[in-house]
Amino acid sequence: MSTTSSSEFSGWGKNFQSRSERVALSSIDELQGLLTKAGRGRGFLPIGLHRSYGDSALNSGGTLIDLSALNTISIDASTGVAVVGAGVTITQLERAALMHSLFPPVVPGTGFVTMGGAIAADIHGKSHHRTGTFSACVRRIKLLLASGAIADYTPEDAEFWATVGGLGLTGAVLEVELQLKSVKSNSADVTERRVKNLAEMIDVLGGADADFEHTVAWIDLSGDYRGRGVVSLGNYGATSVKSKDSNSAGPKLPSIAGKNFITPLSVRAFNEIWFRKPLKNGPVALGKYMHPLDGINEWNNIYGRDGFLQYQFVIDIGKEEIFERLFAGLRSLKAASFLGVLKKFGEQSQAPMSFPRRGWTLTLDYSTKVPGLEKFLQEFDEELVAAGGRIYLIKDSRVSPSLIPAMYPELNKWREIRRTMDPTGLWQSDQARRLHLC
């Protein structure tokens, strides 16, 4: 039986609340019944674990469809093909796959992303320069359409690519068939290097593509904003290590009176320690290496009741001078980020709304209470667009809708395919309304 509740929901950034109904469904039949019987109201949106930072998974006044009941995993150990329910998380899939010495080739920084969410955002990970986005390993998706019909789509179909990165606005993903990668052990061989500024970081990261399957850098954007940091490079390892076998994250970070603990001073202190921490060299459990943020449950409480936003963009190689301008601006605002991540992307997928494409991607977290940050980011967005860059919509809650067509030049193509899949606009989200996506 389905359960319905009405309450307030937030994105992972907790920077605003949205009131809607949430229906937890136990079967696909039930879901079909809901779509065909219910009055349209403010539309429906399939959701996962609300790990998107902004309003991508919110639908105020409408209905959220919780598909966590679709939680089956079946793996053919001989071919490495997995058929997985939409509600299964990356961590659950990893654990099941490792039992057959297999692993999903693309996993994001948190394991608490469902298959449905991974498709909707066309997520990427540390391996993007080699493997591309999540969709690159997907062979088939089963999709519930607005009409109530169920269809299978493969990479041969335009509907497949409209759904990949399509922010849940083309239908509800029910099942994903994907090709796992065979691995020798449950570990990654990790090498970390300290770098003293952005130029060195770009040098080390760029040069590591050929030798390492996984590359990423933590960048310190506080203090002098020169972009010192730690570059982390890894390959699938050969020796197994002991790892915690649990589906839950580590200890929970409580919200302490809704207070924000992220200040220029606390970030500087944290970053100083992080920069000087002993470097890893050797095998690390894959789960721990891939999902460093999952060590602390609900770490997003650290920003207090006003929440935070994550800003992630990609810029072409050769346009690195934009970082200097960004850092100078952030420095003048005293906007310090304790989760700065730099990564070099490989080739773009075919999906019109997929974010990653060849270039540098930088991710930053900020309290929404930094004075002047909103105006600064609006101005930086324009510079970014002028330089041919774009931002990641699954992280966004503040970009101007007028910039979206320039950031996503295939927006109209996506809209056309979407319209054929959902002519009446059944699938809706707060983000789609804010950015006039549909």
């Binding site: 307030e8 950034g13 920077n15 605003f16 609340q17 949205s18 009131r19 809607s20 403010r42 902004g54 309003d55 105020s60 006044g61 409408g62 929440g307 936003l309 929404t368 940050l373 909103e374 105006k375 609006q378 966004d396 809650s397 503040r398 101007s400 809708p401 007028s402 707060d430 983000q431 309304r433 804010r434």
Partner: protein, 233 residues
């Protein structure tokens, strides 16, 4: 939709030529994707606030065209038109300040509840605190509005919609031109900044200036004999 900085995108200002209304809207934090719709006697969204059908039509259109994140209702009549009798002035003020504004609030709240988000700012007045011989007619219309708005704010709890009340004292504007400055008089711009503060405040009521909160307390607490003496001066 509100953006991640809780900054409204699509705004309707009812009373588009209201100086206070305009001062509020123009002092909101900058948002490049903002759209401000002016609802006034003339223009694309023309509205005669005393016309019931007109109120229904304009509110329906505003919300049919897209989500509205913030509505500022800044219509008001002092009721001091020298060409009209006292009684006619009273009726005119009642029709705008109470009937028109309260009906608009009701219609807007209904539509905002459907979208499950949005903010409403209603402009009341210090005049509604306690009747005084020189402005009790105007004060009574604002008292009615204020009473209704406080009730509506309670009724909206848990709907995702919030309503805030701004209670200005004497504001030096076109509306009060030619009148003697009352104590604690503020400029239109100052009043606008209190309006912006009201929107992010956790409190239902914001006074402009803030000190009026205490003045109002004293006003209400004075024994009738003393109050009569002071207010008849």
């Amino acid at each position: 939709m509100l953006n991640g900085f809780k900054n409204p995108g699509r705004i309707a200002l009812i009373g588009g030529s209201s100086e206070i209304g305009m001062a509020i809207v123009t002092q909101l934090p900058e948002n490049k994707s903002r759209q401000v719709i002016l609802v006034d006697r003339i223009g694309e969204y023309a509205l005669d606030v005393t016309d019931k059908a007109g109120r229904e039509r304009v509110v329906a259109r505003l919300f049919d065209e897209g989500d509205v994140d913030l509505v500022v209702i800044a219509v008001g009549l002092l009721g001091n038109n020298t060409e009209l009798s006292m009684a006619d002035n009273l009726v005119a003020a009642m029709e705008v300040n109470y009937v028109g504004t309260v009906h608009l609030l009701e219609l807007i709240a209904e539509r905002m509840k459907k979208q499950a988000h949005g903010q409403i700012l209603a402009i009341s007045s210090f005049a509604q605190v306690r009747p005084r011989p020189d402005n009790f007619r105007y004060g009574s219309t604002k008292a009615g509005l204020d009473f209704y708005a406080r009730g509506l704010a309670l009724a909206l709890d848990g709907t995702g919609v919030s309503l805030k009340i701004l209670r200005p004292g004497f504001v030096r504007s076109k509306m009060t031109a030619g009148m003697d400055n009352a104590p604690f008089a503020i400029t239109v711009q100052e009043c606008g900044s209190y309006g912006v503060r009201a929107l992010t405040s956790r409190r239902l009521v914001t006074w402009a200036p803030s000190l009026l909160k205490y003045v109002a307390f004293v006003f209400k607490s004075l024994p009738p004999m003393i109050f009569r003496k002071i207010s008849s001066r």
